[in-house]
Amino acid sequence: MTEISVPKMSLVVLVGVSGSGKSTFARRHFKPTQVISSDYCRGLVADDENDQAATPAAFDLLHHIVGVRLRRGLLTVVDATNVQWKARQALVALAKSHDVLCDAIVLDVPEEVAVARNAVRPDRDFGSHVIRRQRNDLRQSLSKISRDGFRRVHVLRGDEIDDAVISYERAWTDKTDLTGPFDIVGDVHGCASELDTLLAALGYVDGVHPDGRTAVFVGDLVDRGPDSPGVLRRVMDMVERGAALCVSGNHEQKLVRALDGRKVRVAHGLEKSLEQFALEDEAFNVRAKTFMQGLISHYVLDGGKLVVAHAGLKEEYQGRASGRVRSFALYGDTTGETDEYGLPVRYPWAEQYRGRATVVYGHTPTTLAEWVNNTICLDTGVVFGGRLTALRYPERELVSVPAEKVWYEPARPLTSRGREPDVLDIGDVTGDRYVETPGGTIKVREENAVAALEIMSRFAVDPRWLVYLPPTMAPPETSKKDGYLEHPDEAFAEFAAAGVTRVVCEEKHMGSRAIVVLARTPDDARARFGVEGAGTVFTRTGRPFFAGDLQDRFVAGLREAFAPLLEDSPWLVLDGELLPWSAKAGELIRGQYASVGAAAGAALPVAVRALEAAAGRGLDVGSILDRARRREINAARFREAYARYCEPVSGLSGLRFAPFQILACAEGATAVTRPHDWHLDRLAAVAHPLVHATRHTYVDLEQEDQRGAAVDWWTALTDAGGEGMVVKPVAHPGGRVQPGVKVRGPEYLRIIYGPDYLESLDELRRRFLGRKRSLALREHSLGVEALSRLAAGEPLHRVHEAVFAVLALECEPVDPRL
């Protein structure tokens, strides 16, 4: 048995003459999808696997497929003769351009075997001279193939070919099986005393954590500080005992080269290390050098969720191996320029980082460790008199200790990198998208994203405020009761059937849906949302509610109103309805509803009079007249229905906000999933002229009398001109159960279905609810997801992705009357 070991993520290049058994070998050892053969590609581009004229096109295709697979991190095997240097060179370059390793497996079979195999294949009608030429190429190659740039070349001959067994090597960087918890420590730079203080603060006793936590050092243990050997000794001991991991920093690299006697510029604190190493004995010097030489560029930890690299690492380099990956990990994304202090200009790669893995790094000293797109730099410049900082993972807590003194003068003054304006990228929102939510993966179609982009860009509030958009809500199954399109019975039946035992019926306010974000102070807003101001209020499509300073005055009023809640939590996100309807919908009411009312009011009495005159002449207009009279009454009721929700508003006076849910707050960041009694009890504590209470009643669905009482409650509410009610399971249901359904009153529905809709009930009952109900569920899941991402401190683009998706789904065509 011959064991061949190849890297888990790599390009494997098979080398051998035609008839050497490459395809058979590939079939035996690899999945069919992993093997890309030149014959197959030739077939794809020429309908003939042996059309040699199509070879260039076939290799174009082959390289393309291989490139896509490598980009996606898939092991790929190339089944082509590859006996010529040029062919192999192209593949090695392809692997390198995707930062994956490349192995070659050579199948070296005698010429007569290959000729004999080809002879029995009718499609291989080329002569034996072709094989001979390939054999010659291969023989020449074999002497130099080790210089082609393959990580390893495996040559198999005779029985070895059939006996071979493939095994897979994990990359050195692959520590995905280690799940921590970790304490990741920033750049130490020879500050041994501060390191001991920090380790003690983290709970380490003599380099070991009693709870089995693992320390991870981001590199740059040495140079500049007072005791680089001491730091190394501590870290080496911990690593050897399995209590720590360490990646290489650029200073370790340079120190190793200096210790090796190579010519390096002695600057940036290297001189300190060299002085200190000169005082150590030879054994220490050897141990330290070996340790530093063995440090690798980065680690991928915790199932791929955490990456530690000295200078950070962009997503496409994580877990990969190449010179440029190592260079990025050690030096960062340098542009080759230097700044006015002679230090390299570093490209702010973290601003564009969109990877799922958390990246923890050091290298660039700043005054404060701050999260940027799920990455954090822990170098807080202890050696320059700053602090030594560690990150507890997965807790995401920062622990730091101050420098005992300024050990080394910085070449450039330490600054905070400053908060970037959290600019979103077009790639965060466009194209077909699949958003992971607790309710499953939700697809957002490209054409909907296209429409949403315009709304979001032109009309929505700052995306940092826009942490949520409310989902649409479906009615229950259409009622069959005489005179009703919607009735509470169906809502109760639906939830009872889904196993819900307790629901709350909340008065449905007829106004405009409003999401309110409030902060106790502008500082709290800056800390939580990274945005200036103390709050905002926006519509269900993310638009600001009011223009100019009215918005600010309204927010100020609400902050005053919700002061009791803001005492417990420095910020709040509330869901509610802004009243009256006419405050926001004035134009719609005048242009649509009042216009219809005006036309009806002018036309119908005249028509009734004309018909009465005709009847007076003895003409048989009875049924026409009846109908005209009914329509006259219907039109009057229609007018009453909309007029009920219109009140004069001037400035703040007349405006009211009726909250019914606390979407998020500091104490329970995803408050949205808490039971509704929690929400309603808290909101009940707010009494203020700007705040309108949401009347509600709880129903035990197993108690028939409670159901009946709730129906009466609804009837009274709607008879008095109310829009209707929303029925919600008290406990957040999850799964396929609607988070709530709306049951609208018969008079209110005139606004939706027209003045005479009760005359066409049978027709209207044939409405299709499925799409609306599915949409309601999907949008709800996305909203909850957006809030959980906010709660988990995920970067803006992740929150925005889910919020944007709600808006995109709202662009799906659905019967707007539902």
Partner: protein, 461 residues
């Protein structure tokens, strides 16, 4: 939904002969979306009134039309069509009184050719243009017009009048002419037709307008509105009306019903094109390209690479059609690129241009979103030059009829000082230099209507 026609020409009941509908009968005419009824509320020798009542079922209307309905107001259940004298009434009238409209009457041929005293009432006529337009359109044919505006809602007097009027027409006219006037002018006043406008609409218009339309002082408005502003059809109609022998010649020239804007657009575009030529920009990205006017100008100028970006996919579709992208020769086509993007989202596709143009774009962004735009354009895309134009608010008092901002979507309009402060601070933050130019008539007191900033990167590395 109701139309009454009365005459006092004795014997008034002869109206029944003219209309081909017996005064003592109630007749019913089924239509796709409801039923038309004809009956006579009064029928004496001295005065006779015929009523056409169109009973529109809005639910049926909505359901029968479905999603493909051409007129979205019909797709809604809350709809004025059941009450208002719209084009639905006009077409129903045209069919129910088809023979009368043609002026044929076997029983009373002479009467059909005679002008008789008529009174026509429409209790709720949608009238875009108000009572004045109703008078303007009917009076030239000899009608006395009473058009009373209907308030939106008496309980809310602050809402003012609705778009409906109660219309009464009185005059001595041939009945057939009266019906044809209504047939053409009801949809014109309503200005929202309910079906697709096809070629044969021109025929219908010509037929119904025979003898009066070509000489009507508002011929242009009537034709354009009746044909739903389809320019090609309107031109066809004008040409045909000219054939008919009327002096419609002068109306053939640019039909311009919309207000003629001073060509500030053109001045602005020319200023941008000139600035780009000075900068020798060989690749230009037009952020907020709209329907592509600047792109056309730059193509003419021979700029080798022009990219148009707009946030509205629909606008880009119009731009592609206007530029005739699909029919462009491949060499020209390679010079142009159009795609959807937003200036508040960084976009790798924005990078690598000699110049970016933000022509009348910044004022459409809410002020708190400006830093994001600055970062996307000046910080991430980093073109060698950026041209920004925006209105100069100081100039606004020079526009006679302007109250407020120049466009409903403008979030702000800057004075010259505000614009300069903003531009200089952006330039300082992102390493650009900036100079300013006036676009349009440079008023010594208030400056030019449009202001332009030309940014140049200090270190074009």
């Amino acid at each position: 939904m109701l139309l009454t026609i009365s005459t006092t020409r004795e014997p008034a009941t002869d109206l029944g002969f003219l209309l081909h509908k017996h005064p003592d009968r109630v007749q019913e005419f089924p239509r796709a979306f409801g039923t038309a009824h004809v009956f006579y509320p009064e029928a004496t020798d001295r005065r006779c009134t015929a009523a056409l009542l169109l009973d529109v079922d809005p639910v049926r209307l909505a359901r029968t039309q479905g999603k493909t309905t051409p007129d979205f107001s019909l797709g809604q259940y809350v709809n004025d069509r059941p009450y208002a004298a719209s084009s639905l009434l006009s077409t129903a009238m045209a069919e129910v009184f088809r023979t009368a409209r043609s002026g044929r009457c076997a029983a009373r041929p002479e009467l059909a050719g005679t002008a008789i005293p008529l009174e026509i009432t429409l209790p709720a006529l949608p009238c875009r243009g108000g009572p004045a337009l109703a008078r303007r359109l009917f009076e030239p044919m000899g009608w006395d017009v009473t058009a009373d505006p209907i308030p939106l809602d008496p309980a809310f007097p602050e809402w003012g009048d609705s778009r409906y009027v109660t219309l009464t027409l009185t005059g001595e006219l041939r009945l057939a002419d009266a019906l044809n006037h209504l047939y053409v002018l009801l949809p014109v006043l309503d200005d929202a037709k309910h079906y697709w406008i096809a070629e044969d609409e021109v025929d219908k218009l010509i037929r119904a307008g025979e003898g009066w339309l070509a000489a009507h002082p508002d011929l242009t408005l009537i034709t354009r509105r009746f044909l739903n502003r389809r320019t090609a059809l309107t031109r066809a109609a004008f040409a045909r009306l000219a054939e008919v022998g009327d002096d419609a010649e002068e109306t053939l020239e640019p039909p311009a019903e919309e207000e003629v804007r001073i060509p500030l657009n053109t001045l602005r575009r020319d200023a941008v094109v000139a600035a780009l030529a000075e900068l020798q920009a060989r690749s230009v990205i037009d952020l907020g390209c709209g329907t592509g006017q600047l792109i056309t100008a730059l193509l003419d100028q021979g700029v080798p690479k022009i990219t148009g970006v707009d946030v509205s996919a629909h606008t880009l579709m119009v731009a592609a059609r206007r530029l005739k992208l699909d029919r462009m020769g491949s060499r020209t086509r390679e010079r142009v690129d159009l795609f959807q993007g937003s200036v508040t989202y960084t976009d790798a596709r924005f990078a690598g241009y000699d110049a970016a143009v933000l022509m009348e774009v910044v004022e459409h962004l809410d002020p708190p979103r400006l830093p994001a735009m600055e970062r996307v354009v000046f910080g991430a895309a980093k073109p060698a030059h950026v041209l920004v134009t925006t209105p100069n608010a100081e100039y606004n008092p020079r526009y006679e009829n302007l109250t407020g901002l120049r466009h409903p979507d403008h979030r702000f309009e800057w004075t010259r000082a505000e614009f300069r402060d903003w531009a200089r601070s952006v330039a300082a933050r992102y390493g650009y230099q900036v100079e300013f130019r006036a676009v349009g008539d440079d008023d010594p007191e208030v400056g030019s209507p449009t202001q332009m900033a030309v940014f140049g990167k200090e270190d074009p590395a």
